[in-house]
Subunit: 450 residues, 2 copies
Amino acid sequence: MVLPALERFDLEADRLPNRWYNVIPDLPRAPEDFVDPATSRPVDSAYIDRRLVPALAAQDRSMERWVSIPPEVLAQYRVWRPTPLYRAHALESELDTPARIYFKFEGGSPSGSHKLNSALAQAHYAKRAGIKRLITDTGAGQWGSALAIAGALTGLEVVVYMIRSSYERKPDRRNLMETMGAKVLPSPSEHTAVGRQILAADPGTPGSEGIAASEALEAVLANPDSRFSMGAFANHVLLHQSVIGLETRAVLEDLGEEPDHLIASVGCGSNLGGFAFPWVADRRAGADIKILAAEPDACPTLSRGEYRYDYADATGQGPLVRTMTLGHEFVPPAIHAGGLRYHGAAPLVGMLSHEGLIDAVAYRQREVFAAGAMFARLTGLVPAPETAHAIRAVIDVALRCKSERRASTIVFCYSGHGLLDLGAYERWNHGLLEDVEDLDQLAAETSVTS
Amino acid sequence: MVLPALERFDLEADRLPNRWYNVIPDLPRAPEDFVDPATSRPVDSAYIDRRLVPALAAQDRSMERWVSIPPEVLAQYRVWRPTPLYRAHALESELDTPARIYFKFEGGSPSGSHKLNSALAQAHYAKRAGIKRLITDTGAGQWGSALAIAGALTGLEVVVYMIRSSYERKPDRRNLMETMGAKVLPSPSEHTAVGRQILAADPGTPGSEGIAASEALEAVLANPDSRFSMGAFANHVLLHQSVIGLETRAVLEDLGEEPDHLIASVGCGSNLGGFAFPWVADRRAGADIKILAAEPDACPTLSRGEYRYDYADATGQGPLVRTMTLGHEFVPPAIHAGGLRYHGAAPLVGMLSHEGLIDAVAYRQREVFAAGAMFARLTGLVPAPETAHAIRAVIDVALRCKSERRASTIVFCYSGHGLLDLGAYERWNHGLLEDVEDLDQLAAETSVTS
């Protein structure tokens, strides 16, 4: 019998993890403090409490390796979790590679990506703390959609500053958020002092995650019943996303497979962290497991960034954080993978990258869409442009295995579907998709706020 | 503990049905022959063989109650099947109804709807018969997307005549098909004599399923290596879709639930047939199970059609078939539920409707979107406009249960997601969605081909 394009492996429902994994106890060293730019000293509890949901801020600092998932969140995870692990036989055949290629499919969540894993947890803790409203920033809209759904299910108001290039290019992400009852504003907006200032300086700016975060933080400080919510960056987000890696690991163990390559796209690092961190301790103990981050050449935070203290947002509202960064003033060009347009990495991802435990590779837009479109025809699944970065990296690793005649086990995270990105695929299908030829040239052509 | 919005019930992977259920042996009487308009006699094997894949034509006439699912198709089903059954606690609470509301979730397939159940089977049999190309018609694009994916996975060419109103309103369905490598043409098109004739008479026509079917049939006859493929109507399609009902029945039996109401939307009847037919024999044996079809007021085939011989397509290319019909010349207005814009019912659905075994209710567009948007906020799932018709009917039945203080078990088919219909939700969210006030008025305002 011919193998199907995709072979599915499930974890039984009663093996859905009931604890999240916290990588901090397994790091080479303790994470550095966040610094308050107003005092140049580590952020204090008043600073944190005014901005963040208390339980989430506590998770950010937790030294516990395992954190219980609240039963209410577990019950919500059960709507689509455990997610399937697939073996991509068709991709292996197409590449004629001896590598075995698996992927964890996070595209089946109600929001369409892994982002809902953290959104539901954040909404739960916010609601329990009596917070009325969560305010956030979103790039491609995957995070905003997830938080909008979590807000609708939990009975919380949600306000989303959506970077303008995505707001304009991806009306259906905005429509999805609005259908769930969320308020969506294009960033930079006229609703904040930060937004007005940036618009005055550069009316045509495409926006960035950093700018949208600045606006969200300003709005939080102006609304005492609101708190800031992050779709990536914070330690607690990577903690919540660890369900991805824990499930993946359990199924691979059932199959008797040990991964050689763990691959995920990186904007800030929430899907890579959640997917790969459960193997960090093995890697540090000497296991030959490579963790590879696929990022856009247009925003190569890990490939070309520096490891240093920088602002978490674009305009210095947020704390100073030590991580990999392209500089908080960097505004990436408006590539279709809007979820990867952030100047910095999550601090845990930045540290592990700096310590050499995570490798990175950067791709141009057209080679990414070539990979995404090929994968779609081979499997019937249209990947998000962010996910297509990971697929591009998988293809390269699999072809290297072929040329080296090396059987490897490659596992990647399929972070989300591309059904709301079909306009970009249309451009690709018709040969109209623009490429990004050179980052330095782009930086010169692209707005940089100051 | 608070109940989650949705509670999920799974069928184990090894209980995926390995046979389809054929309702024909359980009908009150044998289905009538299709009639060739050229001879006014039952279609003969030459007529059929020139148009249809032989194995599918044989399934249309099969008197076997159970038909084995080919292992290749089963392996493809396994990518997303068995699908979950959910209990919609949040909807029950919102309506304050004593009814228990379940739904079978077909929105998780790679194509986003139940349509892939038949598309994969059809592509398999076509490929095995050495056919090079399948040509089809599509309304909203759900069927076209499914066949495009099946073609990509099987290595068959796919050509889709997509009704013009959907082609223009739903570019992302077209983009999805093209990403899979299918050729998509707006119907009526300049590519067929039928299309040219209709365009000449009425350049502004929104098109219809019947017109698109006429064009596809003409194209099939002009290309000897091609066959016609149907997303609904034919008995073999309803056969393939029976996996929905068989899985639903197995899970309900595990739960000790017996359905009182089985509800699905109906354009032609493929999701209703696949979902509800496994209970027809029980119904005929006296079980108190109501089967309810939810259709658009703008195209009320079962509510206001006649049971008689009529052409299957709009222009008399296709055979004459006895079923419920609004008349083959009827061109429904361009409602957003493009998948429900067909003048006739599948003959098996038409017969059971005529025999009183299926009830029908028709809804206007705005009351349908009100139900869809409410469901989205309660569950985090955005239903296709077609599916929202079923949800509207579920709400009405559940409210009737409330007023009658009657605990009932309502089960409906969630035929597909609405992620590629968010433009219609945008209009609803902003109060711009048009309603259809009166069918007769509409008929007067809307093009009718002749």
